[in-house]
Symmetry: C2
Subunit: 267 residues, 2 copies
C-alpha cells in the first residue's frame, strides 16, 4: 500500500482565480512518482483558522502533509501559525531559521525588521528548510506515527528548489522503493463512449494501474482520445508489466472498433 499524502495550498489569489495552481500540480506529480498516493489537494485562504482546519483534517487522514504559500513577510503570510495551531505547538523564534534570514539580508546590507524576523518564527521543534532562491525558510515538523508536515514557499521557483534539495531525499526514504511508470497512446477514430467498456476492463485487469481516457477533440466527427496509464510496483519490471497489461486491453478494443493508434509513449 502506498503511503498517503495530502496537499494544502494557501492563498487568496488562488481562491479569486488570479493565480493558476501550478504548484499543486508540480507537487502532486513529484509525490506520485515518488510512490505516494495523493488523497486531496485543497486550497485554503490566508487565514489562520482555515489553514489550521485544513492541516488538522489532512493530518487525520494522511501521513505526509505538504503546504505551499504563506511563508513570506506580509501580514497575510500566516501558514505556519495555522500549522502550529493544527498540531498544538507554540510558535517560537527558530534560531537556525533566524540565522538563514539574517544572512540573506546582511549579505545585502539590510537590517532585520520585525517583518523579516517573522519569517523565522515557526512551530516549536520544526526543522527550518533553506530557501536557495529567496528569503523565507520552509519548515518541516515531525509528529507521532511518522507523520510529517512540510511547509514550502508559494513562489514556484523557491518551492521547487527547496523541495528537491531538502524534502525529496527525506520522502524517498519514507516511500520506500516503490517504482512508478507512466505510458499510454492516442486513439484516433473511436469516440470515448465506445472505448468506455474496454477502459473499465483494463482497470480491472491491472489493479495497481490507474487507467484514464482524456478526450482531446470532440466525442464525434474525428474523435481523438488520449489513453494514459500510471502504474506502480515494487520494482520497475513489475510496474511496467502492470501498465502494459492494462494498455493491451484498450489496444484490442481500439482495433476491434476500427480505430487506430496515432502516437505512443512507452514506459
Amino acid at each position: 500500500m502506498p503511503v498517503e499524502a495530502w496537499i494544502v495550498t494557501v492563498g487568496n489569489e488562488l481562491l479569486i482565480g488570479r493565480t493558476i495552481n501550478t504548484n499543486a500540480a508540480w507537487l502532486a506529480r513529484k509525490l506520485s512518482f515518488l510512490g505516494f498516493k495523493v488523497l486531496r489537494i485543497v486550497v485554503a485562504p490566508d487565514s489562520v483558522d482555515d489553514i489550521a482546519e485544513e492541516v488538522s483534517r489532512a493530518l487525520s487522514r494522511a501521513r505526509i502533509v505538504v503546504t505551499t504559500g504563506g511563508l513570506g513577510p506580509t501580514y497575510d503570510d500566516v501558514t505556519l501559525e495555522g500549522v502550529s495551531r493544527a498540531i498544538g505547538r507554540r510558535m517560537v523564534l527558530n534560531k537556525e531559521a533566524l540565522e538563514m534570514v539574517r544572512r540573506f539580508y546582511e549579505a545585502r546590507g539590510m537590517v532585520l525588521t520585525d517583518d523579516r524576523v517573522k519569517m523565522a518564527v515557526m512551530p516549536e521543534g520544526a526543522k527550518p528548510l533553506a530557501n536557495p532562491a529567496g528569503a523565507a525558510p520552509g519548515a518541516m515538523v515531525e509528529l507521532d506515527g511518522g507523520r510529517l508536515v512540510v511547509s514550502l514557499p508559494g513562489v514556484p521557483r523557491e518551492m521547487e528548489a527547496m523541495f528537491e534539495a531538502e524534502v525529496e531525499p527525506v520522502l524517498k526514504d519514507i516511500a520506500g522503493g516503490i517504482e512508478v511508470v507512466e505510458c499510454g497512446f492516442t486513439a484516433v477514430g473511436v469516440p470515448e463512449s465506445s472505448l468506455a467498456p474496454y477502459i473499465r476492463r483494463a482497470a480491472e485487469a491491472s489493479p495497481r494501474a490507474y487507467v484514464k481516457s482524456h478526450p482531446r477533440g470532440s466525442e464525434l466527427g474525428d474523435p481523438v482520445v488520449d489513453i494514459k496509464v500510471v502504474a506502480s510496483g515494487s520494482n520497475l519490471d513489475e510496474a511496467r508489466s502492470e501498465a502494459l497489461r492494462a494498455l493491451e486491453v484498450v489496444r484490442e478494443g481500439i482495433a476491434s472498433l476500427g480505430g487506430r493508434i496515432s502516437e505512443e509513449d512507452t514506459c
Copy 2:
C-alpha cells in the same frame, strides 16, 4: 456579506499532477467577479465516497457548490453518484437529459449504448444543463435554504460554455448586484519585506478590499513586486473608491521607501 461558494474539482489526473487545474482558476475568477466569496477549492479523486464526502462538507459551509469533471461515459465518471449520495437523493434516468444525449448521438447516426445512457442518470429533481460542446449534460440541483449544487463537465471548453449559457444567469440573480473591481500596479526598487507594513495598513484602511503583494523577481537585487487589489461594493463607484484607498496607502509607502511604480492597471 457576499454569498459563499465552494469548488470541488474531480479527477485522479489532477491528483497525480498530469493536469493543471485551470478549471478551478477559471471558475474561481468567474464566481469572485459575480460577487461570491470562494471559501475553498478541493480536488477529489474519481471515487463516489470521496466525492460525496467533499460535496457534503461543501454544502454544510457554502450556499453554492460547483463541481467539475466526472460526467462522461467511462467507469470512473462518478461525480453525480457522489452528489446524489451527499444530498440523499436517488439516481434516476432524467428524461430531458436522455433526450439531449439521444439527439447528440442520433444526429451522428449512433445508437444509445449503456455507457451513453449513463450520462443521463442524475439525482432525482436535477435540472439537466445542455452541453453546447459535447455529449455529457451537466446538472443543477436546488436544495433547501436556496443551496445549489451545479455539476459541470471537466473538458474546459465544455465547462466554460455550459457555465456561461446555463449557470451564470442564475448565479447573477443570487449574487444580487455586488460589483467587484480589480486594479493594481508594479513596484520597482523596494523589497516585499519593506512594503509589508504598508500592505497591512492598506488592508486595514479598506476592509472590503483584498490587498496582496506578489514578488515577481528576487526579494533583493532588483526587487519587482506586483500589488493587486480586488474590492467589492454595492455599486461600481463604491468598489472603486475602496480599491483606490488601499492602493493609495501602498503608493505612499513606495515613494517614502525610494521605489517607483512601473506599470499601472486602473479600475
